[in-house]
């Protein structure tokens, strides 16, 4: 009104992570790189700017039989939180999340006699990272032990921390970007936690769910990314 720049109110407090939705994008009859190309064209057409790359990886360890009922530890790294190592321990039907610093990797190496790494199960999603306004979009190519498995699209809405409050907005954004293949409902993991404050470990949970699905999928698409 007065010609003042009504700038976006930049939050001085260190921002918590915004709400993130992870969804799979079907490749159809295209190859992986082609699909990523299509999506990146779409997002750039919306006015996004590319901001570096990202990588989420997951290693899985299983306990040796002497320790009793088998337990599985998934160790995940997210380049968005470079100083953190996430781990999810599955014992029975419980999942115990843990966020630790980089030394946790060394600890797992020390425990290799109790928790042995599963061969051929290293899953990772890597690709380019785009920023568009308050949204952050990551187009990831998923590989399980370097076999191409599919495309994961991560969309983060940074100003909000409660999923229930921004799900509609995210849904609309996803529909605009992904069209028909956009999810109609919140991811299963978030449905029980819509009113809770979103934290980085929730993103990790979503990634693990998708990685587990990709591992089970028969033989992937048979396409090597490299």
């Amino acid at each position: 009104m007065l010609g003042f720049q009504n700038q976006k109110n930049v939050c001085k407090i260190i921002c918590m992570m915004g709400v993130t939705i992870l969804t799979q994008f079907p490749t159809g009859n295209r190859t992986g790189p082609e699909t990523v190309e299509v999506l990146s064209k779409r997002i750039l057409a919306l006015g996004a700017a590319q901001q570096g790359q990202f990588l989420v990886d997951c290693d899985t360890y299983t306990s040796i039989p002497q320790l009793g009922p088998q337990r599985t530890v998934h160790v995940l790294h997210n380049s968005e939180q470079p100083a953190t190592v996430f781990s999810l321990l599955e014992s029975g039907n419980k999942t115990i999340p843990l966020a630790a610093d980089g030394l946790f990797d060394l600890l797992m190496m020390k425990m290799s006699s109790f928790y042995t790494p599963k061969k051929q199960t290293k899953a990772e999603s890597k690709g380019l990272r785009y920023e568009i306004g308050d949204f952050c979009v990551k187009l990831g190519t998923v590989t399980v032990s370097s076999n191409f498995k599919g495309i994961l699209v991560e969309v983060e809405y940074r100003p909000c921390v409660v999923p229930a409050m921004c799900w509609d907005l995210l849904k609309e954004f996803l529909q605009g970007l992904l069209g028909q293949s956009a999810p109609g409902n919140l991811p299963a993991y978030l449905q029980n936690r819509v009113q809770e404050i979103y934290s980085p470990i929730d993103t990790i949970h979503q990634y693990l769910e998708h990685f587990t699905l990709f591992r089970k999928s028969p033989g992937g698409m048979g396409l090597r990314t490299q």
Binding site: M1, L2, N6, N9, Q81, A83, T84, A99, D101, P200
Partner: protein, 653 residues
């Protein structure tokens, strides 16, 4: 007096036995300390012996005198009161001496009277009680009683005389002790300063290195014993006539400080705008003005002054280093003893190191006439370096004991707290001293400008009242002011609150409706914003007032598209109609032109149809608006005038 008993004073060869245990081992009392044994021996001294001799001498004198009297009656007849006179004179002398001693002791500078344990005196009442008991025992010992009384009086006199002697001897000892003992002085020095012995010399260190400083310059000083002759000759050779007279006890200790640390130093902070001082701060550790560089200064003050010089030098050195290294859009300049940094366009921050080595150069220093001496900037400069020192000494412990040393606590919990890359990037940023002081200076100027704008607006504009409340709690780079726009007498009707956050280079205003306005450092922007809010306040207040008067607000617009174009902002307006709907008031507020009020009248209650207006309903369309000349109206302020206007229009209908 002749009944005194000789006491031999000798120390027991071995300590007294305190206890003998069942197995026969003897537990000895611990040996007395020197002062305890001195006190013990002092109690045992028989003063009557000494005075006895005196008395005897006197007696013998008297005897001889009486002999002389008998022999030479002529002389005695000449001086019948000779003895009395002599005694009076000696008494006078003693009283004079006592008066002198008391006068000196009162000053407490040369002589201190310590209470002396006078246990022997306590025996006196016991003896008296004993004597009384004896007296009660019977009359037949009457003779012995008088005899005892005499004895007691004599003993008391002897004791009093002895005590008096002790006192005088102690006083004399104290008088001789005007120059303090070198070792006692050294002990005191050692309590406050770091000392070490290197071969035959005593070297001290006054640097801040133990407190975390990494400044390379050493702050060593040497401690020597002051020479007697030098001391006696130095007061007359002292070049300062106005200096303190040599009444202080001369110190037996002398500290020699390296020449580069001598004198007085302070850091001067100036905010300059086109050669005009906006503010200045002098930092000086000692707080008081520059102390005199007297060669006879006490070592404590001397060392403190030297330490201050070192501190100022370190601070300036650090700032100068940063000024050269920093890549500022307008490069910082370091010229001689001055650092120049541009804070805001046209405003420079000048930090200067002033160091005067001798007392003669003191006049060159800027006189303490600058009354706008800013304590905040002074204190923060001081604090910033202390903080650096503190950080150097307080390194956080590594989290696993084998972990790396160095990362802050915040960085350590960054992993488990899942900090994202922005947070981690934030953590790697460190601000230099100069950046911090520049930011503080920027904020200082922003605050001053905001204050000035608010004060001038409040002074210029009387009709809504503008009051501003500054928060007492603020940080060196952020403060907050709350502005209330209200009309006198109508505070309850309408009030427009604004909150302005004053930052380092920008202002953030949170308006009544929750809008956030970001402004730059230009004060005009703030002024414009407040002017706009004054207009909005007037329109809102008129509507709120209309509601209480039973009038109806037909419509309002904060950004009117019609009328002349305003140089800043837009005009705002509202339309009000009377309870019966036959009168309409239009108010238009413009930031520059002020307020215009117009009134439209519906026609009279009686209606005569004409050829043009056939039906009565068309009359309700309202007539032409006519301007109200507000300045001719009665009323204290705009709202009061509007209230009167509305009241008069309501009563007419």
């Amino acid at each position: 007096m002749s009944y005194s008993v000789d006491i031999s004073v000798e120390a027991p060869i071995e300590n007294q036995i305190q206890e003998i245990t069942y197995d026969g081992t003897e537990i000895y009392q611990p040996p007395l300390t020197i002062s305890e044994s001195l006190a013990k021996y002092a109690q045992k001294i028989d003063f009557s012996r000494v005075s006895d001799v005196d008395v005897k001498k006197e007696e013998s004198n008297e005897d001889s005198k009486s002999d002389a009297d008998s022999k030479d009656a002529f002389q005695s007849s000449l001086w019948p009161w000779d003895g009395v006179r002599n005694k009076l004179r000696s008494a006078l002398q003693e009283v004079c001496v006592l008066a002198d001693v008391l006068a000196i002791a009162k000053e407490k500078r040369y002589l201190v009277l310590d209470p002396v344990q006078q246990e022997p005196l306590e025996t006196k009442p016991m003896v008296q009680i004993y004597a009384r008991k004896k007296a009660l025992a019977g009359n037949y010992i009457c003779n012995s009683l008088t005899f005892l009384k005499l004895c007691i009086v004599g003993a008391a006199n002897v004791l009093l005389a002895g005590a008096e002697k002790l006192k005088t001897s102690q006083n004399e000892a104290a008088r001789n002790r005007t120059t303090m003992d070198f070792h006692i002085e050294l002990l005191r020095l050692r309590q406050n300063w770091r000392l070490k012995k290197v071969s035959n010399t005593i070297i001290g260190d006054l640097s801040y290195r133990t407190a975390g400083s990494k400044y390379l310059q050493t702050g060593t000083f040497e401690v020597t014993k002051a020479e007697e002759e030098e001391k006696s000759s130095s007061p007359p050779s002292s070049p300062l006539p106005g200096g303190p007279a040599p009444v202080k006890p001369n110190s037996a200790l002398r500290v020699s400080i390296p020449s580069e640390l001598q004198g007085v130093a302070y850091i001067e902070v100036l905010c300059q705008k086109d050669q005009e001082d906006l503010c200045s701060a002098n930092i000086n550790l000692l707080g008081s003005g520059p102390p005199a560089t007297n060669p006879d200064m006490h070592w404590q003050q001397k060392l403190e002054a030297a330490q201050n010089v070192l501190f100022c030098k370190e601070l300036f050195n650090q700032l100068a280093k940063e000024a050269v290294q920093l890549q500022a859009p307008i490069p910082h300049m370091v010229v001689g003893n001055q650092i120049m940094a541009t804070v805001l366009p046209g405003i420079q921050l000048i930090i200067g190191l002033c160091h005067s080595t001798t007392g003669d150069k003191k006049q060159q220093n800027p006189a303490p006439s600058k009354s706008d001496h800013d304590h905040v900037l002074e204190h923060s400069l001081h604090q910033l370096l202390r903080e650096v020192h503190h950080k150097n000494t307080h390194i956080p412990f590594p989290h696993p004991a084998t972990g790396p040393l160095g990362p802050s606590k915040k960085r350590m919990i960054a992993g488990p707290m899942a900090a994202d890359r922005y947070e981690l990037l934030e953590m790697t940023k460190t601000e230099t001293l100069l950046e911090q002081i520049v930011k503080q200076a920027q904020h200082f100027i922003m605050r001053m400008r905001t204050e000035y704008v608010l004060d001038t607006i409040a002074k210029e504009i009387r009709d809504p009242l503008i009051s501003s409340h500054w928060n007492t709690l603020n940080s060196p780079t952020q403060s907050c002011v709350k502005i209330n726009i209200s009309t006198h007498g109508y505070d309850a009707v309408c009030r427009t609150p604004l909150v302005i956050h004053v930052g380092e280079k920008s202002l953030k205003c949170i308006c009544r409706d929750g809008k956030v306005m970001n402004m730059s450092y230009e004060p005009q922007e703030l002024r414009d914003l407040i002017m706009c809010h004054i207009n909005q306040h007037q329109i809102l207040a008129v509507q709120a007032l209309a509601k209480t008067m039973g009038w109806q607000a037909l419509g309002n617009s904060n950004h009117l598209g019609t009328g002349s174009v305003e140089p800043l902002g837009n005009a705002s307006s509202c339309l009000l109609s009377s309870p019966t709907g036959d009168r309409i008031i239009a108010v238009r507020c413009e930031p520059q032109a002020g307020t215009q009020v117009s009134v439209a009248h519906s026609p009279r209650s009686d209606f005569f149809p004409s050829r043009l207006v056939t039906e009565r309903k068309w009359e309700h369309l309202g007539g032409q608006f006519r301007d109200v000349r507000l300045d001719k109206m009665e009323g204290r302020n705009f709202l009061h005038k509007m209230e009167l206007l509305m009241a008069s229009l309501t009563s007419n209908s």
